[in-house]
Structures are given as structure tokens and as C-alpha cells.
């Protein structure tokens, strides 16, 4: 690495910026109150907003799930018409995948990643804020379709040619396509941002193999996003051009091949599955060692199995298409690759189990959720193996057996991990603990409801109930199990309510308690070295890292006989600086303005070209405003050079939004 001892040129030409950009907006100021959320670029604020928005969408998606289950309570229910049911189940899937599970992963990634690697912020703070607003506006845009003629009705997989205007003349699918393009921009931007953050901004001493596992899994997730998102972007553009301009991509009469959509969708769609689950794997890999009071078992195996899952994740997409007429060779190849992806997954499960072995398990709520994940994900993984067997899959695919499988993976896997993460990191983020008593109720009710809902789906699936049926007839043997599943769904809803009540009650209670200690869980990783809640400047000074569980080994030292002895109290280690002298990126209006332009263009594409022009004008203005606004307020700091943003047509990575980084240990 080059050393900065060469004589550096001073900026040539005086800075011409006086804080005004394009003569309209004055520079956003770092303030408290709602403005600091709108214009803030702090990764922690962005992370919290991601989480809050995702929970809001969870309530919408959950309500859609309840509608589905109420419709299927009994045979020939008339609650929803076939048309509305199709919209509801499509939007349920889309919402849960793109607006709930992915953003909760992003919430944890945004909040924790810089803290876990000892950085002050992400590499491109303004891009980070932009990616959140993009996601939020995209999600809202998608859901406004309910008010503007109905939601998309083609399923979240949106197979061609059923996604064409001929078969779905309402605007629902247009909203779906454009909304997903917008949220895709969000994920794309944030993936580049977070990868650069991890690769470039680790604290001194933190080599790649000393990174916490959550950081590792998030890094892998972001690589999956980086390489999978362009594929769905192309698919979405092809569909948009087909629907809006009449392009021939999925028009059978023009010789289109409908499998093109399926390939493009699943080349994205399968890595998507892994990128939804891996952040959760990362979270429980943080939780299990803390509550077992042992290091994670087989750190390198857990890391590399995550990497292996990601690699193999790109080679299994066609297992979604075993019955679509791929040809026997393709089917067999993808069948085998799919089977063997179970190996790294199994390695992870066994390592988690081994982490618990011999520990002193403290059954707090995060651990309960983690154990829930291990067992439920095992069930989901094993049913996954059963459909990797192509001949068996011909009996299973598109039945409720698949619905059961992927809910065990994504709900029992990803969501349980996220719930564990919420309970574990709540004091870190908000400075108060969630009630453990309610947390335990929350877990058990969720666990019961989850199994009641999705367990019976294995049965009705094997007995022949197809997915995406708005109704079913009596005498097929589906009735009783559907009733159990519906009861289960309401049980899940109860546990979600418990969680929200817990947040409110615990907040109220926390006011009569002293602030939560610095280290409520006796935790291990770097993020706990900062006070709770995390101050705006994260670290001061930036710590130097020597081991994976750096915080833990500052508290405990190894004794001669291999045991550990407590040598320091957490509160003596935790930083208590006032952050004076820490240089932070300045807030900016431009991320939200730029993101706001995107749905305007999208509405324009659906309803009127004039809106396109308006949205385009907003986007161009925002881009130039952004480009000519230095990332740091020149009035607020010494004279930095100026940055330039090069935006390509996706409005992403080319941004030159350099956060001034301090990596040298200071103080």
C-alpha cells in the first residue's frame, strides 16, 4: 500500500461553493428532530428507518396473509373473488420478499456493519440514504396499485406470458414491474456501498478472517445482490417494454419463448433465496456464542460454507423449472447441484449445534429464536432436499408442500433469526431492553403459530392441493388442515401484536429504569464497545482489533489452564468519548429528492408522459445538485476537495461520495 508521505498537491483553484447549490436549496444541516431523519446520512438512522419501514410492510403483507388464510378457511369460501385473491397472494409474496425480509436484512446490515468492523459510517453515506428512500418510495409506489386499479395478479414469480397485457389488462403488473425496478436500484446501490465498506474500512488489525460472522454473511449477501440484481433488472425491463411499448419478448405469436422469463427470473430468484437467509444466519452466529458463553464453533467453516452457498446459489436456478420442459440433461445437472448445496447448509447447522454443546446456555429470548431457527430451518432444508430430487419434484412442485418448504426456510429461518436479532440488538439501538417475559411469550406463540400454519401445508401439499388456488372443493381431504393453518396464521398475528406491544410497554417501562448498561448480554463483538444507544460518531477512537471476539477478550483473559477469567468490567472498556473532533459526513437533501423522482417517472410511464418529464427533471436536478455538493459541508470543516458524481442510467455506483475516513488509531 502506498504511503501518504509524498508531497500532496493542494487543491488548485479556490472552492467556489458557498453551500448553495443551484441557487435553490441551502445545505441541509445536522439537526435533531424529523429533519435529521429526512436529510440524515447516518448509517444508524438509515438502518432504523429500514427496519421501521420493513415492519410497516410486514403488517401489510401479514394482513394479506390473513386474507389468504381466511379465504381458505373452508371450501368454496366467497370472502375474496378469484381476481382479488390472485392480487392478494401476489402482493403477499412480493411484499414479504422485497419489502420485508430483504429490507430487514438491510436494516441489520446498515446498522451493524460499520459498528462490527469499527468504521464511522459506510463508504458512501449519501448513497446509503438514497438507497433507503428508493426502497421506501418503491414500496409505497408498489402498494398504491391497490388504490389505482388493483394489485398485480400474476404471482410473485410473474410467469410469462400470463404477465402480458393480454392476460392481465389492469395496471397491477405495471406497478409491480416499476416498483421492483425502483427497489432494485435501492438494493444495487446499497450492495456496492456495503461491499466497499467491508473491503476498505475495517478497523486496524481486522483482517477478513477476524470479521464477525454477521459481517461475513452480509458481505456474501451483498455480492449475491450485486450479481443477481442485474438479471432481474433486465427481466423487469423486458417485461416493462413488453407491457408498455408492445415489445415481443414474451409474445408467443412473435416466436417468443416463455421460458426466457423463467430463466432470467430464477437466475435472480434463487440467489435471492440465499440472500434472504444469510443475514439471519449471520445474526444467530452472533447470538449463539453470546448466550452459550463459548466462541462460535468452526468459524472458518461457517464462513466458507456461507461463501460456498453463495457460489452454488448461482448454479441451481433451474430447479424451479424441473417440470417446464428443460430437457433431461439440464434437469439432472440442476438436480445434482441443488442436492449438494445442502452440504454447506448442513455444515452450518451442525456448527451451531456444536457451539451450544458444552456451553452455559442462558435462555433469553434471542437464544430461543436462534434455537427455533436451527430446528425449523432443518425441517425446511430437509424438505428442500426432497424436491431437489427431480422425479419427486414433479409430484411436489407447485403444491402446498413447496409453500410449506419455503415458509420453513424463510419464516422459520430468516424471520426467526431476525426476531432474535431484534431482541438482541434492541438495547444497542434504542438504549432499552425489550421485556424478556413478553419476549418469551412472543417466541412461544410465534413458534406454535408458525408450526400450526405451515406444518399442515406439508400434508395438503402431498395430498394434492395446488398452490395459488383461491378455492378448493370439499372431499379432497384438505378441509381440516386448512382450518388448522388458518388458526395458526392468526396465532402468528397475535405474536406480531405481542412484539409491537412489547416495544411500546418496554419503552414506557424503561423511563422508570436507569439507562441500560453498556453490555447487557455480556457480548463478544466490536459493536458493543460503543455505548448504548450508539452515539452518532460510533467510535472515538477507532479501536485496534486483535481477535474475532475482540470485545470479549478485553473483558476476559485466558488462564494457563485454558479457562477464562474476567479481568475487566465492560463499563471500563466501553468508550465514553464525547465525539469531539470526529469528522462526520454532512446531511443532504439530495438523496431523498433523487429517490422521490423515481416513482414520479414510474407513475408517468403508467399514466401520463408529462409526469415522466416532471420526474425526469427532478432526477436530473437532484443528480447535479448531488454531484456539485461536497459530501462535507465546506463551512463545517476544513477545505476538502470537491467531489464529482458520475451517474450512469441506474443512478448508482458511480457516485464519488467519499467519506473522510480515519483508520489510523487516534488518541
Amino acid at each position: 500500500m502506498a504511503v501518504a508521505d509524498a508531497p500532496l498537491a493542494l487543491p488548485s483553484g479556490a472552492p467556489s461553493h458557498d453551500g448553495k447549490v443551484l441557487g435553490v436549496f441551502t445545505r441541509a444541516q445536522r439537526t435533531t428532530g424529523w429533519r435529521s431523519w429526512i436529510t440524515g446520512v447516518d448509517h444508524k438512522k438509515v438502518g432504523i428507518m429500514y427496519g421501521a419501514a420493513a415492519i410497516f410492510f410486514l403488517l401489510i403483507g401479514g394482513f394479506e396473509a390473513l386474507l389468504i388464510r381466511m379465504q381458505l378457511w373452508a371450501p368454496r369460501q366467497q370472502l375474496l373473488s378469484a381476481d382479488v385473491y390472485n392480487q392478494v397472494y401476489t402482493m403477499h409474496g412480493t411484499t414479504m420478499v422485497f419489502l420485508v425480509v430483504m429490507p430487514i436484512g438491510a436494516a441489520f446490515a446498515n446498522y451493524l456493519l460499520p459498528l462490527q468492523i469499527g468504521a464511522r459510517d459506510v463508504a458512501f453515506p449519501r448513497l446509503n440514504a438514497f438507497s433507503f428512500w428508493c426502497f421506501l418510495f418503491g414500496g409505497i409506489f408498489l402498494n398504491t396499485s391497490w388504490l389505482l386499479g388493483g394489485g398485480a395478479d400474476g404471482g410473485w414469480f410473474m410467469y410469462a406470458p400470463n404477465n402480458g397485457v393480454l392476460y392481465s389488462p389492469s395496471h397491477g403488473i405495471d406497478f409491480w414491474v416499476l416498483g421492483l425496478i425502483i427497489t432494485g436500484i435501492a438494493s444495487m446501490v446499497s450492495s456496492v456501498n456495503l461491499i466497499v465498506t467491508v473491503l476498505n474500512m475495517r478497523a486496524p488489525g481486522m483482517s477478513m478472517m477476524k470479521m464477525p460472522i454477521f459481517t461475513w454473511m452480509t458481505l456474501v449477501t451483498q455480492f449475491l445482490l450485486l450479481f443477481a440484481l442485474p438479471v432481474i433488472t433486465v427481466a423487469l425491463f423486458l417485461l416493462m417494454f413488453s407491457r408498455i411499448f408492445g415489445a415481443a419478448f414474451f409474445n408467443i405469436d412473435d416466436g417468443a419463448n416463455p421460458l426466457l422469463w423463467q430463466h432470467l427470473f430464477w437466475i435472480f430468484g434463487h440467489p435471492e433465496v440465499y440472500l434472504m437467509i444469510l443475514p439471519s444466519f449471520g445474526l444467530i452466529s452472533e447470538i449463539l456464542p453470546v448466550f452459550s458463553r463459548k466462541p462460535i464453533f468452526g468459524y472458518s467453516f461457517i464462513v466458507f460454507s456461507g461463501v460456498a452457498i453463495a457460489f452454488m446459489g448461482f448454479g441451481v436456478w433451474a430447479h424451479h423449472m424441473f417440470v417446464s420442459g428443460l430437457g433431461p440433461t439440464s434437469v439432472l445437472v440442476f438436480s445434482l447441484t441443488t442436492m449438494f448445496i445442502a452440504v454447506p447448509t448442513g455444515v452450518k447447522i451442525l456448527n451451531w449445534t456444536a457451539t451450544m454443546w458444552g456451553g452455559r446456555l442462558r435462555f433469553d429470548t434471542p437464544l430461543l429464536f436462534s434455537i427455533g431457527l436451527i430446528t425449523m430451518f432443518t425441517i425446511g432444508g430437509l424438505s428442500g432436499v426432497s424436491h431437489s430430487i427431480a422425479p419427486a419434484d414433479t409430484q411436489q412442485t407447485d403444491t402446498y408442500y413447496i409453500v410449506a418448504h419455503f415458509h420453513y426456510v424463510l419464516f422459520g429461518g430468516a424471520f426467526f433469526g431476525f426476531m432474535g436479532g431484534f431482541y438482541y440488538y434492541w438495547p444497542k439501538v434504542f438504549g432499552y431492553m425489550l421485556s424478556e417475559k413478553m419476549g418469551k411469550w412472543n417466541f412461544w406463540v410465534l413458534f406454535l403459530g408458525f408450526n400450526l400454519t405451515f406444518g399442515p401445508m406439508h400434508i395438503i401439499g402431498l395430498q394434492g392441493m395446488s398452490r395459488r388456488y383461491y378455492t378448493y372443493d370439499p372431499n379432497f381431504g384438505f378441509d381440516i388442515w386448512n382450518k388448522i393453518a388458518t388458526i395458526g396464521a392468526f396465532t402468528i398475528a397475535l405474536s406480531v401484536i405481542l412484539f409491537i406491544v412489547n416495544i411500546a410497554l418496554s419503552y414506557k417501562r424503561s423511563k422508570s429504569l436507569p439507562p441500560v448498561g453498556a453490555d447487557p448480554w455480556d457480548a463478544r463483538t466490536l459493536e458493543w464497545i460503543t455505548p448504548n444507544p450508539t452515539p452518532e460518531w460510533n467510535f472515538d477512537p477507532i479501536p485496534t482489533v486483535t481477535r474475532v471476539d475482540d470485545f470479549w477478550y478485553q473483558k476476559y483473559e485466558e488462564t494457563a489452564d485454558g479457562g477464562l477469567v474476567k479481568v475487566r468490567d465492560a463499563k471500563d472498556i466501553v468508550q465514553d468519548s464525547d465525539g469531539v473532533g470526529v469528522h462526520l459526513p454532512s446531511p443532504s437533501y439530495w438523496p431523498i429528492v433523487l429517490a422521490f423522482g423515481l416513482p414520479i417517472v414510474a407513475y408517468g410511464l403508467i399514466f401520463s408522459w408529462w409526469l415522466c418529464l416532471l420526474g425526469g427533471a427532478i432526477i436530473v436536478t437532484a443528480m447535479f445538485g448531488w454531484a456539485f455538493e461536497p459530501p462535507d459541508d465546506p463551512e463545517a470543516a476544513h477545505g476538502h476537495g470537491h467531489d464529482e458524481a458520475g451517474h450512469d442510467d441506474h443512478g448508482s455506483a458511480a457516485d464519488v461520495d467519499a467519506l473522510e475516513q480515519e483508520v489510523a488509531p487516534v488518541g
Partner: protein, 130 residues
Amino acid sequence: MAHPQQPPVPTSVLDGAVEDYPSDWKYWRVAIILFVLTAIEVSTYVLADSVFSDSRVLIATLLFLMVVKFWAVAWYFMHLKFDKRILTVAFYSGLALAMVVYLCMLLAFRYFGDDGMICPSESLNCITEG
């Protein structure tokens, strides 16, 4: 606008390159090579009936020239030769992934069949496997 003359800044300081970027003359030489390669590419169009009557030879030649040109631009103009290896890894991992994935996809479409075409849908009997 006039700029005060500043002492040149070594590129290695600026961007962590492992060796200094080459002189302009080197870029010109690469450009000349690119020009020649492009000329050969275009000449295949003229010579399609004589020298390259075998379409497999033609395609192989064109692909080879394409790869060399791609590599030359990336290696010299994009400074992959001079910069840290991780940039090469980042870019080529995306490229390699793209090639493998889309090649598999084309294979799944049985694209590289007798005539390299997928069947027009009007003749339903064309694709019969499955």
C-alpha cells in the same frame, strides 16, 4: 482559468496502484494494435465468401479477436495491469459468472443446435424434448 503549476503527483500515491501508469506512447501503441485488430475483424466481412467460407473458422476468429480487444482495453486502458489485483478479481468474477450462467442458460435452451437457432414457435414440433 489558469492553474498554478503543481508538482506531478505519482499515481501510486493517488490510487494505490502497484506500478506507475505508462506513458502516452504506450497507450498509442495499444490503440494502434486495436486498430489493426478491428481492421482484421471488419475484413472478415469482405472475405466472408473466400477465406472464411467455413463459418466455424469465421466465428472462432471473430471471438478470438473480440477477446483480445476486450482484454487489451481492460488490461491497459483500464489499468488492470497496473492496479491492485483485487480490482481484476472484482471485475472478472462478474464477467466469469455472467459467461458461465448465460452459457448454461443458452445450453438449457439447446441454443447450440444444428443451426444455432431456437425454433420459431409456429412449428410446434421443433422443440420436443422434455
